[in-house]
Symmetry: C2
Subunit: 335 residues, 2 copies
DNA sequence: CTTGGCAGTCGGTACAATCGAGTGCCAGAC
DNA sequence: GTCTGGCACTCGATTGTACCGACTGCCAAG
């Protein structure tokens, strides 16, 4: 099933590589012309017919060349692609990027998405670390108006969460201070998920405030979707020729929640590449995604990915994703 | 110069409206067929020839109909467009949106950009309120590791700023607390711009910490660009037929800084519409932007805008922008 | 000043012929 | 048996031609 004799594999590789480069159906003549396939066009034709029977290739119409199917791409990335190194200029670009990367996590992740899209010429997605894992470093209630306050939570990974609260009566500065103290006592050091309100104090309003905030924090973890940074969407305009495809892909990229769950789904299935129908998401049927987790100290913190047409340059994109995820991880370890 | 006799105006209006609807060059026959132009095609031809001489219309090629120029659109929006009311369904959509809008400012602005893009079928931009105007409500230094701390600043408008700082020696919790106290004393109540460090304390490290943070906050106002939310980029794919145009527009929209300065520039010139070459930004030469400031208590806090092809539906888009900016402003006043 | 008429322009479409890239199959060579 | 050259065939793309139709500009008559 997933094994092909050497010559079939060589033909398939040739078709995929040629098609990735030219975006044109490739015929037996072109394949036979390649140095690594030392046979005549006629023989290639026979092999191609067999590959088509087995579902690796397809023909747009009679008298046209062959085009790889999703299955064909799958075999290509699984069996025919060694994770090549990046080109020298790309390598330099990555190096310089991480050498001068600094500042806030968000800013860096945002810039990373741009880097990745420049390296691959496709759209890139960077998903930030989830909040659940981090512990709370600080909780503070800041009054904005007599009845409105902002709860600012600082997590150990440097992320800051904020939530506004409104009450029906004026709460006063001293109550805010007391609530801050009580919340700090209980929450600092624990994770958002395990946030539990402290025991009652006797002051009903104060207790209700503390309870609201603690509850909201717990809810925030499940509700609040992870931060997502998408870069290089403009490149999708050139990647497909059908306007409708472009529109639907861009539309999908705007719905960050969808993108995140797609990536998560692929990662959970242990894949690093999902091609066309494999991810089962109709609007992106003509797309392939390459994902990789990144993390500090060996554990996963987030995911990066690139999204391109199924005929994307897999070797290059795989290399770029691998390098960036690895460098990003070690960059996070540092500071 | 900017005045046209009634019949020329009617012809121009007809051409613009027809072209907006059909995207096809419009000929004398179509114009003459409209009820508000009671003359024969021949007369219309004469008028159109005059309008072309004066630069309001252009001909893609001989034997084709006429197309409005930027100047033609300009006259149309200035003289021929009354700010009509929104359609009932749009009106309802806006009403429902603001009725259920809640939560964080960022979230609301983000959703507003989506609303505006749905109302107009073009891309929408929402620029958040600038930080300079707001006063500081709270400053807090939170230690993340022995040498790294996060300065969290809460502004009176509910915005939260964060900046990481790293020192060469361990600072310790008590110094962070002292620094927080000193900073709070000086900064709370003032604006970011006027942030000034307090007098020296005698502790060199502490003073340097305080100084760094105060300086950084002052710098943040000028450096940190305003928050921008862009929605409906996918709609640009359908708005232009040239792929290259789509790519360049999307590319521009990804560079938020460029978008913000474009909007700001238009607003500063007192315009509400900039058509094609008027904004002088080459990559968007085929685009028109409609902008409107929104604000609480009468003063400006931010800007909203829509970006579409020069042949956009101006009456509808103008109405949508006007309504949304007004509703958004009053929504901010409430909470 | 308006209008109907008319000659002229020119892009878009429809159609046929042709071209060429590619295929499948088969018979012969190695 | 496997490979290969040859051949007939298919079918999309290109080219050329003719034509149609939607325009315009101009002019002379109302």
């Amino acid at each position: 099933m997933d094994s092909l004799d050497d010559r079939k594999a060589a033909v398939l590789r040739a078709v995929v590589e040629e098609y990735i480069e030219t975006a044109q159906p490739v015929g037996s003549g072109h394949v036979a012309g390649r140095p690594d396939v030392g046979v005549s066009p006629a023989t290639v034709r026979n092999e191609m017919a067999a590959l088509e029977r087995d579902g690796y290739l397809a023909q747009p119409h009679t008298s046209a060349g062959r085009v790889p199917t999703d299955k064909g791409y799958r075999f290509f990335v699984d069996q025919l692609t060694r994770l090549g190194p990046l080109g020298p200029s790309e390598r330099l670009q990555v190096k310089e990027f991480f050498a001068q990367a600094h500042g806030e996590l968000e800013q860096m992740l945002h810039d990373t998405s741009r880097l990745l899209s420049e390296l691959t010429s496709y759209a890139a997605v960077v998903v930030g670390p989830p909040a659940e894992a981090a512990t709370i470093r600080s909780v503070q209630l800041v009054g904005l108006s007599p009845r409105v306050a902002l709860a600012v939570t600082v997590l150990s990974n440097g992320a800051v969460h904020k939530h506004t609260f409104e009450w029906n009566e004026d709460v006063g500065e001293e109550r805010l201070g007391a609530a801050t103290a009580r919340l700090s006592g209980v929450l600092v050091g624990s994770t958002m998920r395990s946030a539990q309100p402290p025991p009652p104090s006797g002051d009903a309003l104060l207790d209700s405030m503390v309870d609201q905030v603690a509850t909201a924090l717990r809810a925030a973890v499940s509700e609040e979707s992870d931060q997502v940074f998408v870069g290089g969407t403009a490149r999708m305009a050139a990647a497909f020729d059908a306007v409708e495809t472009v529109r639907s892909v861009l539309d999908t990229l705007e719905h960050q929640y969808v993108v995140v769950s797609l990536l998560r789904d692929v990662v959970d299935r242990g894949l690093s590449v999902a091609i066309g129908s494999e991810h089962g998401f109709q609007p992106l049927a003509e797309c392939a995604v390459i994902v990789a987790p990144y993390g500090r100290q060996g554990e996963r913190s987030g995911t990066i990915g690139v999204l391109g047409p199924t005929r994307m340059n897999y070797p290059q994109a795989l290399a770029a994703v691998a390098v960036v995820s690895q460098r990003l991880g070690s960059r996070l370890d540092e500071g």
